[in-house]
């Protein structure tokens, strides 16, 4: 089991969701975060006060999957989120010790994608 964290552009979030559904990855959490990658900072002006915005809005997906679904999920994230320009985001894959489905008490492999397999 792995926990996959994908940080993507907010305007690509819908495309990522679509790609994940198409890849039959179920069980997704999503949150709005602010982050700084390598992108150039933009300058904004508020009544004469000029500021350099160091953080950009991003969307963070958290997806727990069984081992055989890791590559599928990564592919879906890349497919949905890629524009080719700086600021597309990152994917982190990390080991997952345990998972429990609260409704049924199912554990580990039974509690993550794919559902019911």
């Amino acid at each position: 089991m792995k926990l996959i964290i994908g940080i993507v552009r907010p305007d690509k979030a819908n495309d990522v969701l679509e790609a994940l559904y198409r890849a039959e990855v179920r069980g997704i959490s999503m949150s709005r975060v602010q982050g700084h990658g390598g992108e150039l900072e933009r300058v904004e002006t508020y009544r004469g006060t000029r500021v350099q915005m160091g953080l950009s809005d991003k969307v963070r997906f958290e997806i727990a999957v069984s081992d055989e679904f890791v590559q599928t999920t990564i592919d879906a994230l890349c497919e949905g989120a890629q524009t080719g320009e700086v600021g597309d985001g990152k994917i982190f894959v990390m080991p997952l010790d345990r998972a429990v489905r609260i409704r049924t008490g199912e554990r580990d492999h039974g509690a993550v994608t794919p559902v019911g397999k």
């Binding site: 602010q34 390598g38 904004e44 002006t45 508020y46 160091g54 700086v86």
Partner: protein, 434 residues
Amino acid sequence: MSVLLAAAPAVDSGDTAWMLVATALVLLMTIGLGLFYAGLVRAKNTLNTFMMCVAALAVATITWAVVGYSLAFDGEAKILGGLGHAFMSDVGFEPRDGTTIPHLVFFAFQATFCIITTALVSGAVVERMRFGPFLVFAALWSVLVYAVMAHWAFGGGWLAQQGTLDFAGGVPVEMGSGFSALAAALVVGARKDHGRQALLPHNAVYVLLGAGLLWFGWFGFNGGSGFSTGDASVLAFTNTMLTPACTLLVWFILDLIRGRQVTAIGAATAIIVGCVAITPAGGFISPIWAMVLGALAALPCYAVIVWRTRTRIDETLDVLAAHGVAGLFGIVFIGLVAQMSWNDVADGLLYGDAGQLGSQLVAAVAAPAYAFGMTYVLLKVIGAVTPLRGSDRDEAVGMDIIHHGEEAYVTGEGAILIRAEAGEAEELPVAEPV
């Protein structure tokens, strides 16, 4: 000499006082419209959408003072007024012909109409049209479309001459903006995600508050269009209360039938539809007919909104349905139920004058045709000179950051102050793309 003096109308202080207030009320509508529109778009386009309305305040006021007012209100030529009032010449303290208010007040009141109508059209192109070309479009549109149509209906042009009744702007304001919006949407094209993703309103409270401010301002819009505190103004004022209330209730019912729930954004839309429908008819029909008008006007407008969302036409904020169709409905309705006993001007078909309906139908054909055609050509010409819209990337980032360098909901986290000392920008650590 004394006979002449007695015949010349003088400035009436009561009428003038009301018209000063009415003018300010209508000006507030443009800000109300900005709020209404801003709530209907996505958060990343909030400021740009609002700014298109603010831009109309800047641009249309100036074009109106320079040439628009003159083309609309100088002389009674059939197609276009003269240039006698260009740069506001001969617009002074003496009463405007046919009114008891100073010419300056008449000018200012009419200016607020030009401003809000120009702002209305922006609803068709929000979230994608570039701000610069929009400013050019707004300036030209306010003269080539609004001033011309205002002359036809208000300034003694051919529609007024052939008997079309239009109390407060069914022709230039409502049909003018609504059918121009359709043309603008077709020329500028749909947003890149239209029909592919759900593009939802980001703040329904803004939408309701904006609709409320518009309704409030509309009392000046309709109530001021008699240019006095006389019977016609009073009738239009009260009808402005009655008609939208009926539209609201019918809209509730239509929402219930269609989706089993009454929606807030639907309610805000209904308020606009009701106000628009009574705009041309306000001073001409009885209060009871005004209520019937409100109830009936909901039907075609609701239908057009439902139809539009099933097409590929991205007339984003439904200016066609809420203004074009509702205004057309109101214009035609006058031809049916106008009553001499209420308006001292004309009867409609139900009260014995079928000819009035004919006059109204002429306007209902000519106004949409001119507004659509002229706007279509105007945008094609501007588009040939400069691109009307930015790249897909710009659209993805949002118009606020791209065109204004600001965000509506900025947090300030991660914002580094730039200190410019002695005209020199401080060196800042900028991350280079790897």
